[in-house]
Amino acid sequence: MIDARALAPLRAALGSRIAIYALLLVFALFYLTPMMVVVLNSFRSFEEITRSSVLGFPTALRTDNWVQAWGTYCIAGACSGIKPYMWNSLMIVVPATLLSTLFGAMNGYVLSLWRFRGSNIIFGVITFGVFLPAQMKLVPWAIVLRDMGLSNSISGLVLVHVIQGLAFTTLFCRNYYLNVPQDLIKAAKIDGAGFLQIFWRIILPLSPPILIVTIIWQFTGIWNEFLYGITFSEGSQRPVTAALMALSANIAQAREYGIESAAVLIAALPTLLVYLLGGKYFVRGLTAGAVK
C-alpha cells in the first residue's frame, strides 16, 4: 500500500527531474539550432533560400548542393569543388598524426623508463608547449619555414603539426608509460634486449590504448586547424579549413548558402566519424593502465 506521505518525496523528485530535462532540452535546442540550419540549407536550392530566408525547411531532399560542393563549385579560380582540398587536408593530417604519435611514444618511453639526469626538466619543457598559444608561435614558424624553403607547402604544414603535436603526445605517452613496472625493463635487459628492441617488442604492444588517444586527438586537432592552415598555404595547396574560408569569400557572385552548407558538412564529416567510431576508445585509453 502506498500512502500519501511516501508519495510526497517521489513527487518532488519527479518535479526536479522534469525541470532538469526541460533545461537540458532548451540548451540542446540552443546548441543544435545552428547545425540544424546548416543541415537543412544543404538540401535547399539557391532559389528557395534567396526567395524566403536562411531559415526554413527544404521542399525536397535534393543532393544538388552536395554534388556541386564536392566536385564542381568554383573556389578562387579553380572549379573542382572542395575535393582537392579534402585531399590536401588528408595529406597533411595522416603523416602528421602518425609521425607525432610515433615520436611522442618514443619520447614518452625514454622519459619514463630510461631516466637520466635532467629528464624531468626536459619533460617539463616539452609539456610547456601544450600551453603556448598558437598565435604566439606564428611569426617564429614563418621565419623557420622560410629559412627551410617550406613556406607554402604541404610538407611545411606537416612539419609544423608534427612539432606542435609532440607536446601533447609526449605528455600522454609518458604518463601512460609510467605505469609500466621497472622490473619489466630489468628482465628485458637481462634477456639481452636493447633500447629499441624493448620499445618495439615490449612497450609498443602495451600501447594501443594511449596510441588511440593520441591518434584521435591529433587527427581531429590537425584536421580542424585553421590558423596555420591558412597562413602557411596558398592556392591549390590549401587544407579544407582554409578552402572553406575562400569558398565563402566569393565576392564575384551571390552567396550560395546551400552549397556552402554542404561544403561545411563534408569538411566536418571525417572528424565526426572519428569521434563516433573511436569515442569510447578515447575515454577508455585515457583511463587505462598499461599493465594489468
Binding site: 613496472p181 622490473d183 619489466l184 630489468k186 628482465a187 628485458a188 635487459k189 637481462i190 634477456d191 639481452g192 634486449a193 628492441q197 617488442r201 615490449i202 604492444p205 602495451l206 599493465v291 594489468k292
Partner: protein
C-alpha cells in the same frame, strides 16, 4: 673455482652509502640466501651482481671472470623477480623464448628448450596463454622457466615468493629447493623471511644497514649468532635477550639475573676465556625452545630451573608459546601443545643452558 666473488663493494647514491664494504665468496653449487630487514641493502647487492646497477667501488667476479663493467646480458646470469616481470603482450612461450630470440638462437633449438623447461616446471598446458590469464603460482613458474632456459652459471632470485599466499609460498619454496638439488646451479636468493633463509640455504648472509653481519651455514647462524642483531633476527619467535651479570663461584660460571642477589643460572660450561668478564654485565640470549616444561628438556641439555609468572599463552596447535615474566624481564617460552597454564600463575620451568649465548652489551658481539 668460486662461482661468484664480491670484493670490497661500496655503493653510494649521492651522499647515502647503501653498501658499506661487502666481501662475499660463493662456491659453485651453493645456495646463498641474503636475508635482512627492509633497507639493509640486500636487493641493491643483488642488482649489482646482476649488473642492473653500478657499484661506486669494488669488483664482481662471476665464474672466475671479472664482470664489474659487463652488461647484464653478458654475465651468464638469470633473474627471477618478486613481481614476476612477465611480458604482458606475449604468450608464455613468447616470454620464455624472448631472451633466446634476442641472442639469435635458432628456431628449432628454441622450441626444444621451451619444451624441456615446460616439462620440468609442469607448465606445458600453459604455453599459449597470456600472463594475465595465469594465477600467481603459475606466473612464478613461468618466470622461473624464463630463467632456466638460459642455463646460466648463476641464478638470482629477488624475493620471488613474497607475492604469493602462505600455502603457495611453502609449495614453491620446496620446488625451488628441489630445483637446486636437481640442477646444482649456484643460486643467490634475497628474502626478508628468515624461515625461507633457514630452509633453503647452504649458507646465509645476514645483512643489516649495508653490512654483512654474518655469513655462515644455517645451523651456525642459529646456534652461534655473531652478534645481537643476528641473534634477534633469525629464529621465530626471536631469541630472548636480557641483561645479566657474570660471576665465578666454586669454579663455575653463572649468570646472575636481576638486582641484588638475583637468580643465578649456572652455565655448565668450561669457559676459561671468560675470566675477564667476571663481575661484568653481559647480554644473555636464550631461545624460546630452551625454556620449557621441566620434563621436556633434552637429555644432553644442562638444566636450570626457574620460577616465572605466566603473562599470556598462544596455543598454535603444534605447541603453546607462553609469554612469561622472569624478574624484570618478559621472555617467550615454548611449552607442549597441551599445556594450558593459567594466566597469572607461577610455574616452574626448565632452561637448557647449553645453548645460551653471551653477548658483549656494548659491542653486541657474541663472546660465548
Amino acid at each position: 673455482m668460486s662461482a661468484l666473488s664480491v670484493k670490497k663493494l661500496h655503493v653510494r647514491f649521492g651522499s647515502v652509502e647503501v653498501l658499506k664494504g661487502i666481501d662475499l665468496a660463493v662456491e659453485s653449487g651453493e645456495f646463498i640466501v641474503l636475508v635482512g630487514p627492509s633497507g639493509c641493502g640486500k636487493s641493491t647487492l643483488l642488482s649489482i651482481i646482476a649488473g642492473l646497477e653500478r657499484a661506486t667501488e669494488g669488483q664482481i667476479d662471476i665464474g672466475g671472470y671479472e664482470v664489474t663493467n659487463v652488461p647484464p646480458k653478458d654475465r651468464d646470469i638469470a633473474m627471477v623477480f618478486q613481481t614476476y616481470a612477465l611480458y604482458p603482450a606475449m604468450s608464455v612461450r613468447g616470454n620464455i623464448t624472448f631472451g633466446m630470440e634476442c641472442r639469435g638462437v635458432a628456431r628449432g633449438e628454441r622450441d626444444q628448450s621451451v619444451d624441456r623447461v615446460a616439462k620440468l616446471l609442469q607448465i606445458e598446458s600453459l604455453l599459449d596463454r597470456k600472463p594475465s590469464q595465469l594465477s600467481g603460482g603459475q606466473r612464478q613458474r613461468v618466470a622461473m622457466g624464463r630463467a632456466l632456459v638460459r642455463n646460466p652459471a648463476l641464478f638470482l632470485f629477488d624475493e620471488p615468493l613474497s607475492n604469493l599466499d602462505a600455502k603457495l609460498r611453502v609449495e614453491m619454496r620446496m620446488e625451488i629447493k628441489r630445483l637446486h638439488q636437481r640442477l646444482g646451479t649456484t643460486m643467490v636468493y634475497v628474502t626478508h623471511d628468515q624461515v625461507e633463509a633457514m630452509t633453503l640455504a647452504t649458507r646465509i648472509a645476514v645483512m643489516h644497514q649495508g653490512r654483512i653481519q654474518q655469513f655462515a651455514d644455517p645451523q651456525t647462524i642459529y646456534d652461534q649468532p655473531a652478534n645481537l642483531f643476528v641473534a634477534r633476527f633469525m629464529g621465530s619467535p626471536p631469541m630472548n635477550t636480557f641483561g645479566a651479570r657474570l660471576q665465578v663461584a666454586d669454579g663455575e660460571l653463572s649468570a646472575v639475573v636481576g638486582t641484588a642477589s638475583g637468580v643465578a643460572l649456572r652455565l655448565g660450561r668450561r669457559v676459561e676465556n671468560l675470566q675477564e668478564w667476571n663481575g661484568r654485565d653481559v647480554m644473555l640470549g636464550i631461545r624460546p625452545e630452551c625454556i620449557t616444561q621441566p620434563d621436556a628438556i633434552r637429555p644432553r641439555g644442562f638444566e636450570q630451573q626457574i620460577d616465572a609468572c605466566i603473562e599470556m599463552i598462544e596455543p598454535t596447535g603444534a605447541e603453546t608459546m607462553a609469554l612469561i615474566r622472569f624478574g624484570d624481564h618478559e621472555l617467550m617460552a615454548r611449552l607442549g601443545p597441551d599445556a594450558r597454564p593459567a594466566v597469572g600463575s607461577m610455574v616452574r620451568l626448565s632452561v637448557d643452558m647449553n645453548k645460551t649465548c653471551l653477548f658483549d652489551p656494548v659491542s653486541e658481539e657474541r663472546i660465548a
